[in-house]
């Protein structure tokens, strides 16, 4: 049970950080894709949505190549800051953030697209700066959709397995998240542990989904 709680705590920590990162980047890119008119927009959209359709293990491999000791980003991080991300919980955060990112992006993009362009124009004519228009009109009108996407991303991060295992490994108490602990328990024939872990995971996911569906329909009302 203790091991289960530790794994749950780690999963929550990883999922929260991953969701926070996705929220910032998802809102920024979601707004850019919804309102920006620039060449290569469709390419950018496809590129950012890729994690949704690619196998997590493939993503994990890409991440290893990128942020591993010998990868371009990993080598730079190590030589400049002495940071190593492989086999750390921070590595698990990055893996989960990449895998779950399209969920926030899609939610944010469609939420921003649903905001009436005239409202943003009205704010501009009233003398408000572009950042002001975004913070005072676009974001408040889109935030339900953004939040629904973030909750889905949180649930997806909680369940992340493939990419996390590739990047962060399975170190009990350090990088062994709930879903990885389930796999390890089953492999080791510890059915009791597996049962507890599966139950804890299921309850968490149901709670998140209920919260997400409660948020989603009211978005229509606000629009």
């Amino acid at each position: 049970m203790d091991a289960a709680l530790i794994a749950l705590g780690l999963s929550l920590k990883v999922a929260l950080w991953a969701t926070a990162i996705d929220l910032v980047l998802g809102v920024a890119f979601g707004y850019l894709l919804a309102r920006g008119r620039f060449p290569g927009r469709d390419m950018l959209d496809a590129l950012l949505t890729l994690p949704m359709v690619m196998p997590p293990t493939v993503l994990g491999y890409y991440l290893l190549v990128l942020i591993g000791r010998n990868g371009p980003l990993g080598a730079w991080l190590h030589s400049t800051f002495g940071i190593n991300l492989i086999f750390t919980w921070q590595g698990a955060v990055i893996a989960a953030a990449v895998v779950a990112f399209p969920l926030v992006l899609k939610g944010a993009r469609s939420a921003f697209e649903a905001v009436d362009l005239q409202l943003e124009q009205a704010a501009r004519v009233l003398g408000v700066s572009p950042i002001g228009v975004f913070l005072r009109v676009s974001l408040p009108l889109a935030w339900r959709g953004v939040l629904a996407g973030a909750l889905l991303a949180f649930a997806r991060s909680m369940g992340e397995f493939g990419a996390t295992l590739m990047v962060a490994g399975s170190i009990p108490g350090k990088t062994q998240t709930l879903s990885i602990a389930v796999y390890e328990a089953v492999q080791a024939g510890q059915d009791d542990t597996a049962n507890v872990l599966v139950l804890v995971t299921s309850i968490t996911c149901v709670l998140v989904l209920v919260a997400a569906t409660r948020l989603a329909p009211r978005r229509v009302e606000a629009a």
């Binding site: 005239q118 009205a122 501009r124 004519v125 009233l126 003398g127 408000v128 009108l141």
Partner: protein
Amino acid sequence: MIRVDIRKTLRAGQRCFQLDAQFASDSKRVVIYGASGAGKSQILKAIAGLSQPDGGVIELSGQRLFDSGAGINLPARKRRVGYLFQDYALFPHLNVRQNIGFGLQRGWFNPAARGEPAAVRYWLEAFGLAEVAHQMPDELSGGQRQRVALARALVAEPSALLLDEPFAALDPALRVRMREELDSLQRRLDIPMLLITHDPDDAATFGGHVLTIADGRVAGEDKHG
């Protein structure tokens, strides 16, 4: 007081529309009249800075807002024009008070739900909106919505007021009343107003200087008093 000489080519799929509008007026009541699709909205949006012409000059109250030759293109937020959108474009997440005070508040945050600067209070009183100051736009009647939108545009004392089909969304009885309200408002404030409409009655009752637009060009003009 207003001088417009702009060109813009608009493309939507296979169709191509050429706007090539020149006019000038010293009247404080200008009506641009024409069928829908004649280019009226484009002219209004260009004056407000919401759409950029391909070339030309726009001058309002002695200020050059746009001049492609001189590389001048003032952003919408610096043009100090009031703009009344056809369906009012009231902010649905803000109450009446916040909507009216929106332009008075600079920076990254919306006005407080209960705060009421003197200018906001003045317009709430002037338009009989004090009773509904705390309500959200979707709880208002059509006439109230239009008054809120007018107050929101006027509160920052713009140098001119642009009105996009201001009466099209109203039922006939209310339309007659709001025309009268706008008429007396213009006389009282003595603010230059430029109105676009497809309704000949609007042009007849409100217009000082009526410009008829057809196919992206000024096809005729008519001055009353």
